[in-house]
Symmetry: C2
Subunit: 218 residues, 2 copies
Amino acid sequence: MTPTTTPTITVFERSPDRGRGLARDMRVRWALEEVGQAYEVRLVSFAAMKQPAHKALHPFGQIPTYEEDGLVLFESGAIILHIAERHAGLLPHDANARARAIAWMFAALNTVEPPIVERSMAALFEKDKPWYAERLAALDEQVHARLGDLSRRLGDADWLDGAFSAGDLLMVTVLRRLESSGLLQTYPNLLAYVARGVARPAYQRAFAAQLAVFTKAA
Amino acid sequence: MTPTTTPTITVFERSPDRGRGLARDMRVRWALEEVGQAYEVRLVSFAAMKQPAHKALHPFGQIPTYEEDGLVLFESGAIILHIAERHAGLLPHDANARARAIAWMFAALNTVEPPIVERSMAALFEKDKPWYAERLAALDEQVHARLGDLSRRLGDADWLDGAFSAGDLLMVTVLRRLESSGLLQTYPNLLAYVARGVARPAYQRAFAAQLAVFTKAA
């Protein structure tokens, strides 16, 4: 099942996070590093992302995309699942454990990430609005509800369900979006979980690669 | 690969949508109907959903959950993918087409649904706030950005990528959340797409089953 060509992913030409590894290509880079699959990178500007050529690859004009042997994929979750299905290392072999790891992938993206993104967007675009303080309090409460549940489930385990999986990979990248908010400080086990994730050599290689793109552009 | 026992899903004892089929169990019911798999239903009250017994099944205290032969799953996307992997009818056989259908599943849940949910929540909880009109305009703009892209990609096709798939199933249920907003009216092809989805006999059976639960409770 090893692909016959090196896949190509698209990434921001100049990431709005200034190389902090919060853009969604970071997840895909990390997954590829975990399984030892080399990849090519194509830089896309904000202007180009909204043009028909890129929207043919990604209908919503975003990054990352993934191209390999005539297959074009978008959505970081789908790309990571595709990589995990073709390589060992990101999903357990046992069928039930595999299904549960995939549940954590969806949980990271559909249950934990949305309130975190909503909070980040408000912090970016509503900071000067008269309602910001009241909105932020409500948004923080939403995020805390998710973090509290996640922290209780994780307990003192290293990973969410047995060995490290694509579910942990996505959850760690989602939680990292809260680093500058201070909200994670209430949950020592989640802080330690994120620290375990970013300490992985594959994460470190992926992080360095995305930072190099930003540094070169800046 | 046919399961040896009938799966059990959890659903709202009294759905807040009053039986309009917008709760997330509807997606799972529809998927089970598409593949012809019988299922059992266990009703859960709002109070019980937040108790440890239910959180052992669903860490975030939500519905639906899915139990089968010692496997417990949460997240509607993960449950539907699990069903689609064990039964014919929801994912194409061709590997590349299958990966693309899964990309649409993630797109429905991670790219299209979040701004729609954010708008619904604002409409519920911020209606009396002085900022509501300004917020709503911004939220509508976000939703329209997604709908415009989706409408362009769908074009005059029946489904998002070839035959009906789990990607369409999720996208139709996500778009249905906009029915009362009027925002879909700008996109005749999306209206027709939703209409094609809900006209499927499997959808109709699933809808009737969830409505019966609400009607009995009311």
